[in-house]
Amino acid sequence: MLGLFGTLNLASRSLQTQMTGIEVTGQNLANVNTTGYSRQTVQISASPDISTNIGPEGTGADATSIQQVVSSLLNNQIQSQNSTSGYWNSQQSALQSAQNGLDEFLNGSGATSSTSATSNSTTDTGLDGQLSALFNAFQSVATSPTSVSARQALVGQAQTVAASFNTINTQLNNTKDSLNSSLTTDVSSANQLLTQIATLNGQISTAQFSGGNANDLSDEREQDLQNLSQLTNVTTTSGTNGAVNVTIAGQTLVSGNTVSDTLQTYDPGNGNLLVQTANGQVNLTLTGGSMQGTIDARDGTLATLQNNVNTLANSLITQVNTVHSGGYSLTGTSGNNFFNGTDAGTMTVNQALVNDPSLVQASGSATASGDNTVALQLAQLATTDQAGLNNQTFNDSYDSSVADLGSALDTANTQVTDQTAVTNMLATQRGSVSGVNVDEEMTNMMTFQRAYEASAQLVTTVNTLLGDTLSMKNS
């Protein structure tokens, strides 16, 4: 038999047990808004019974452990999807930057019909319209070959085209530079996370080695792993005493509480940074995350776009100069180029023509300044398929590049939308397992509260009984 003192002791331990329950509930409520927090539950077990001559008798209950409610499967899925999300988010960001750099948008003055918006005032903001205007300016000179004002307009339009090419080149180079910076920042963030994970591994191992649980540290580490998986595709394996080993692209970078290697960027020789291990200098082939998204966007769509724009500029410069140099100006001079430069970055209009538009060589005859043969040939370049542009016209080639970029960004936008839905769904699923529900916690709190009240009542009752017992002697 427990006796009155044994029962008093049972009540005392019961109070402690219910108090632990209330403390855990309080911890859960306090962390209802903490990102990555996994709710905790207190495990209560009946205390070992004692044998009596009428059978085993219970000795109350004890709080045996505080456990996290987590799903490893969900956490692994979230990590995996984070890599995919990071990949497409960085692609989207890079391609949006490229699209802005190209500055090829449509403007409209608004709907003009009740049934459909007739965009008869639709204009485009970019190079496509500038190219059309250039060839139309050649047409104007061909129609009025001796008109100096038509030549001034032509030279002005040519300067606008050259400036547009220059601007696009600068913007795309800036985008490329910013992607390299972004990659460097990602690598730095990844190294910081690797260090944090190794440190947390050490703390968790120490706690578990001494028989405890490191629930909050595990949450923190899980959050770091999820952040890391947004940067690159991460493989994790379980180590000793609760540690997690981290492998990226086949290279183990965290082993227990040790960071065995870190990441760094390197220049393979073309200015486009890639990632390798810092100590082993092993070049990594990443398969996901924002790092690879950045690399793919930069070396894929952006590089192709830059190449196409440069090829277009070079072809335009070459073709116009070839025709123009064979013509004659109003003053009879010949042999001058119309454009200088070789690509989008270096393209300019011949300064001599800018200073004196009468030097535009529109005539096909040295003795007939009113001849328009060359101007007409230049204007008709607009509709001439260029071998260097896959047998497309200048405008068609540019429009294809615009559409290719748009298509790549459209794909990225769709993927980001889809991935957002997937990650939201996984977050909801994780929340349903590990998230804190205030109503549930309040119910738990009432449960523990009532149990605590009952145990307290037990103490009062035993106290009364002890008093009665003592009063028996006095009476």
């Binding site: 639709t122 139309n136 003795t367 328009n372 007409l376 429009d399 298509s407």
Partner: protein, 315 residues
């Protein structure tokens, strides 16, 4: 299924973001009239629209070319009308002077009139384009006066020199349509554009024929006047009539091309609208739907968020 308390707020936030984004897109479409504004909105439609915009700009340039050519053709037509009048007067003089009954004094009077006609023809042949000061009848050598004259002591023209060439410019007025309204002052070849004053193909040589007439009048050679000068002047008149008719043909061609360019431009505008324009009714209906959904999300969210077990627990 268990639902974490923050699942409500997270879900609401996602829904608000989605609906706000949708409203922003639809509002932008309604205000701009464009369903496609960036390449990523619809890459194929964007490409088609850019192609159509470039084609439209070309059509508008054709219209501008046509307008320039029409102005020039009108100027040329005015000169041709003058030359027709001069040619008619010269023929009348030749016919009248060809009679053997004319006295030399009469013939000299006629000669004075022909001298004036010669000067008028030279002036007409040296007409400049009011738009750019270029000479209309010098061929492509249009920056110098096409005709210079040699005069005698009395200031009468004894010879003319053509300084231009027989080349005329072609101008593009349609995708595969070229037009020319220019007329060279002289063409001594049997091919190419007919010359206005001198033309090998028709035998016209208006100024030299007038000079011959004047010389025959002064010499009293009525035989040559009636036999040669009259016939030559007829060739000149025929050539000018040809030029008038040809100018009319070119003007008709330009009018047709202008109509075609305008129609093409309108068609392209429709295609642009179809490719990238926003259907206003559809857009406004979708905008209303998005606004209603946004309102519903706000109301339902605020109701759910305001409730928990705490509302029913004793304080």
């Amino acid at each position: 299924m268990r639902v974490a308390t923050n699942a409500y707020t997270d879900s609401m936030l996602n829904q608000f973001n989605y609906l706000a984004s949708q409203q922003n897109t639809l509002q932008s479409q309604a205000s701009s009239g464009l369903a496609v504004q960036a390449p990523s909105d619809n890459p194929v439609a964007m490409q088609n629209t850019l192609n159509d915009l470039a084609s439209n700009a070309t059509q508008q340039q054709y219209s501008a070319n046509i307008s320039t050519l029409q102005t020039r053709a009108d100027s040329i037509d005015n000169v041709l009308q003058s030359l027709q009048s001069i040619s008619s007067q010269a023929s009348d003089i030749a016919t009248s002077a060809g009679s053997a009954t004319n006295s030399q004094a009469n013939l000299n009077t006629y000669a004075d009139q022909v001298n004036q006609l010669i000067n008028q023809v030279v002036t007409a042949a040296n007409t400049q384009d009011s738009a750019n000061g270029q000479y209309l009848f010098g061929g492509t050598a249009s920056s110098t006066p096409p005709y210079t004259t040699t005069t005698d002591a009395n200031g009468n023209v004894t010879a003319v020199t053509y300084n231009g060439n027989s080349t005329v410019n072609q101008s593009q007025v349609g995708s595969n349509l070229m037009a020319t309204v220019d007329i060279p002052g002289a063409n001594t070849d049997t091919t190419g554009a007919h010359g206005l004053i001198t033309d090998q193909q028709s035998g016209a040589d208006f100024l030299n024929h007038l000079i011959s007439l004047r010389n025959d009048l002064e010499a009293g050679d009525t035989t040559s006047i009636s036999s040669t000068d009259t016939a030559n002047l007829q060739k000149d008149e025929n050539n000018i009539s040809y030029q008038v008719a040809n100018n009319g043909v070119q003007q008709t061609l330009l009018t047709t091309a202008a109509t075609f360019a305008t129609n093409s431009s309108q068609t392209l505008n429709t295609m642009i609208s179809n490719s990238s324009g926003a259907d206003l009714v559809n857009t406004m209906v979708k905008l209303n739907q998005a606004q209603t959904a946004y309102q519903a999300a706000l109301e339902s969210g605020s109701k759910i968020m305001s409730l928990s077990l705490l509302n029913y627990m004793p304080s």
